[in-house]
């Protein structure tokens, strides 16, 4: 009985602690449901904390004032291509490094591993000159995703994972007469699902929030990612905090959804990110 009480108490405490920690996010949600003029109004009574009755109008207003749907599509396209196409490209390369004969493979791999430390920020300017100025890819999806398709870090992680798997299955397929391409797609890729999912979740998080590169590569309000869109909406007169908060909530939802579905892999991705063995 006593221990049960203790548990309930711990739960309540944790709930309170969690609420305090999440206060800024809850405040965002609350403000998105208030009439504009009340967002910045000083609090005088407790019941002002709850946005009652909720004002969904702010959300509708976002759609009325800017092309939110298109912005969402750009973000989804940008992130989606990187996650899906990039994953296959990186996994294929990792597989070749882990299992196949490559002329100069060890040296090549050392070079790839060394590329991990080059921060994207140091490449942003020349990439802009290459893709934006000379390549004419400003305000286009390829301009956004091209630099991110191949990732040395993912190649490294996935290769480690392949190396940790026993080769028996692939050898069995080989003896049965399968080509390396078939083995990669039918045998190896399904086996690597955990590490691929981990990389996919991390990449989704990273690029959904991406700010600098889209800021550089777009200069038209009708072609921008959600994060940029928020930046613009935030300064779009007349400034209406309710709408801004509604925009913020909608910009966050897709990540929350991905998190809800892939939570399991996310913990694993943390383990791989942390151990990097």
């Amino acid at each position: 009985m006593n221990s049960r009480l203790r548990q309930i108490a711990a739960c309540v405490l944790a709930l309170l602690g969690g609420l305090v920690f999440l206060f800024p996010l809850l405040w965002m949600l609350r403000s998105s449901l208030l009439p504009h003029d009340q967002v910045l109004r000083a609090l005088t009574a407790w019941r002002q904390l709850l946005p009652w009755p909720p004002r969904w109008e702010n959300y509708a207003e976002v759609f009325r004032r800017v092309a939110f749907a298109r912005t969402l599509l750009v973000s989804l396209g940008f992130t989606g291509v990187i996650v899906v196409v990039g994953m296959v490209i990186n996994a294929a390369c990792a597989y070749a490094f882990a299992r196949l004969r490559l002329p100069g493979g060890d040296l090549l791999f050392a070079v790839v591993a060394a590329l991990i430390i080059i921060p994207f920020e140091a490449l942003a300017l020349p990439l802009f000159i290459m893709l934006g100025v000379h390549g004419g890819l400003m305000n286009s999806l390829p301009g956004l995703f091209l630099p991110y398709l191949a990732k040395a870090f993912n190649i490294f992680l996935i290769r480690q994972y392949f190396l940790s798997l026993p080769a028996e299955l692939e050898e069995a397929a080989r003896v049965e007469g399968a080509s390396w391409f078939r083995i990669f797609f039918q045998v190896a890729l399904p086996l690597a699902k955990p590490v691929l999912a981990a990389c996919a979740v991390l990449d989704f998080m990273l690029h959904w929030s991406e700010y600098l590169w889209p800021l550089i590569m777009t200069n038209r309000p009708d072609f921008e990612t959600i994060q940029l869109g928020l930046g613009h909406f935030y300064t779009l007169p007349p400034i209406q905090w309710g709408g801004i908060m509604a925009y913020s909530v909608m910009a966050t939802l897709p990540m929350m959804l991905v998190f809800a579905f892939f939570q399991r892999y996310l913990v694993l991705s943390m383990a791989t990110a942390g151990l990097k063995q």
Binding site: G17, G18, I129, F181, A271
Partner: protein
Amino acid sequence: MQKHSCDRLGQWLDQRAGLLLSLPALLLLLAFVILPFTMAVYASFTNQSVRTFMQPGTLAYVGWDNYRELLGDGDFGQALFNTMYFVALVVPLQVGLALALAVLVNGAEMWRRMLRISFFMPVITSMAVLAVVWTLLFNPGAGVFNTLLRALQLSPQPFLSSPRQAMLCLAAMSVWQGVGFQMMIFLAAMQSIPPALYEAARIEGAGRWQCFRRITLPMLKNTTIFVVYITTVFAFKLFVQPHLITQGGPRGSTRTLILMLYDEAFTNMRYGKAAAISVMFFVLVLLVTFVQRRLMPREERL
């Protein structure tokens, strides 16, 4: 006959599978990492700017001029200082807090799992969104923080509009945003410690604190080095918060290296100088990486 030649092609491809599978990624890395990196190093020794693009004849090799100008220039010194200040604030706080939170949420109980998720929520909220939300919270007039201070009979603070407080505010917000990520890494590492170790220690009579000191902490050594490393590198990249919240102000107190890089490149369009900042930024990251690699045991190095 046709089947035969098809077979031959298949075999030919199969023998080159390693090359064919790795080629797309390798070419992309060459084009979008190695090539631009070389370009950045090259451009940092030229006077490349928007003008040299218009009139190609004016492009010239300027030697170390860009670097000299940067190092002699108070702006760069301030940006470097601001960045270092941010790193010094964020890294110990974030890593320490992450470790503490990880200990708190390590376990299978319901409440621990609830807390784990709530600590992670800010991580999966984008920095742009949080920047906007925290601007609202820090609002000097009707912001929540000042409302709270007033309710506690304390004097309200200027927060973001004070050169002394602005960077502290950004640091506080950044720690809050990122701590869940590092916590998860610690947590994953803690959960990979074999429970048998703790059982053995308990049989030897070790208490909770002893277990933490003698087992958890030593087992987390490499993870900690790694977490400190990535936190440092992330902190060096500080850009979105000052760009959206303070625009580098007030009075340049939140101007960071990347913000300066962005301004030089896209506001002043002085590509040569911006490239020099890029190169110096890379060297900085390289130094940190070097230290990290020296600390890590050989077999765990990246």
